[in-house]
């Protein structure tokens, strides 16, 4: 987990892991969370997204929130794959302290490879 504001709002590593692994059945997430995660899953093949898929998202999010979600997606969907090729790791530890790339690799690299 990266964002300090998320920690302050109570998001935990366990909830994040559930969101990634089994969000449809997680009791930690609400229907709005699931609608967003379902939509993100569809982006594996974006050209197949249909109007009904966006209608489903609209039932949980406003137009403005959908645009904000698209901004988050475009900033992240490609960048992390590029970072993976250059062994670039987060510059903060889980507690928000500044760390070196070597330290970060020990924390996040092992986890990523596990």
């Amino acid at each position: 987990m990266r964002a300090a504001s998320c920690k302050q709002q109570g998001l935990t590593e366990d909830a994040l892991n559930e969101a990634i692994e089994d969000f449809e059945h997680s009791s930690r997430l609400d229907e709005r969370d699931r609608a967003v995660l379902r939509f993100i899953g569809l982006l594996q093949d974006p050209q197949e997204i249909q109007p009904r898929d966006l209608d489903a998202l609209r039932s949980s999010c406003s137009r403005e929130e959908i645009v904000e979600l698209l901004m988050v997606i475009f900033m992240n969907v490609g960048m992390h794959q590029f970072f993976a090729t250059i062994d670039f790791y987060p510059m903060l530890d889980p507690d928000g302290n500044s760390i070196s790339q070597a330290q970060s690799r020990e924390i996040y690299g092992v986890k990523a490879e596990a």
């Binding site: 569809l42 050209q47 109007p51 137009r63 403005e64 997606i73 992240n76 490609g78 960048m79």
Partner: protein
Amino acid sequence: MLAAPTHRHGRGVMADLDVLDRVDIVDAELIGALDRSDRTGLPGSWLLRLFARRPDSARLMIPMLDAVNRGGSLSARLKELVRSLLAGMVGDSYYAGPRCRVAIDEGVTDELLSAARSGYEDDPRLSDRERLALRYSEQIFLDSKKVDDDFYVELKTHFTEAEIMELGTFASITYGLCVITAAAGALPEDDDL
């Protein structure tokens, strides 16, 4: 082989509902970005009018989009080739064809971009440097594990380290843009509406 994308939604699943009309945009930075987009072809009026729904966030992204599209040292032609390849990978019509005015003025055509999307390894119109850049951009998103140390050694025979970082960043941002424009079903002609 990546065919030229032809979208299945006509004008797009979100084009009508979620994009602001130009007359409704009053923010000076967004208006400036729209004017620059009209002159240069990038990042596109439709995209900016979509982002205008969230003007605070859009204002943060406009300098980044300007920098990756028009800044740096890589040529407009190379960026246009990479942009078209990435659009083809995700079935995006919005960024698949000729878009950058500078690249078009330098001779980039629809046929050349079609070659970038569907057969760049064998096309004699492309240089070794361009083919390598396309292979790099493609592999980051097809299978990033194949972009290993040996791949970066090969890249350094044609690019400086600064150019490699510029190319990787450009490809990352552009891939993200192509994903959301493909998801929204945007078409190039939506820029004119």
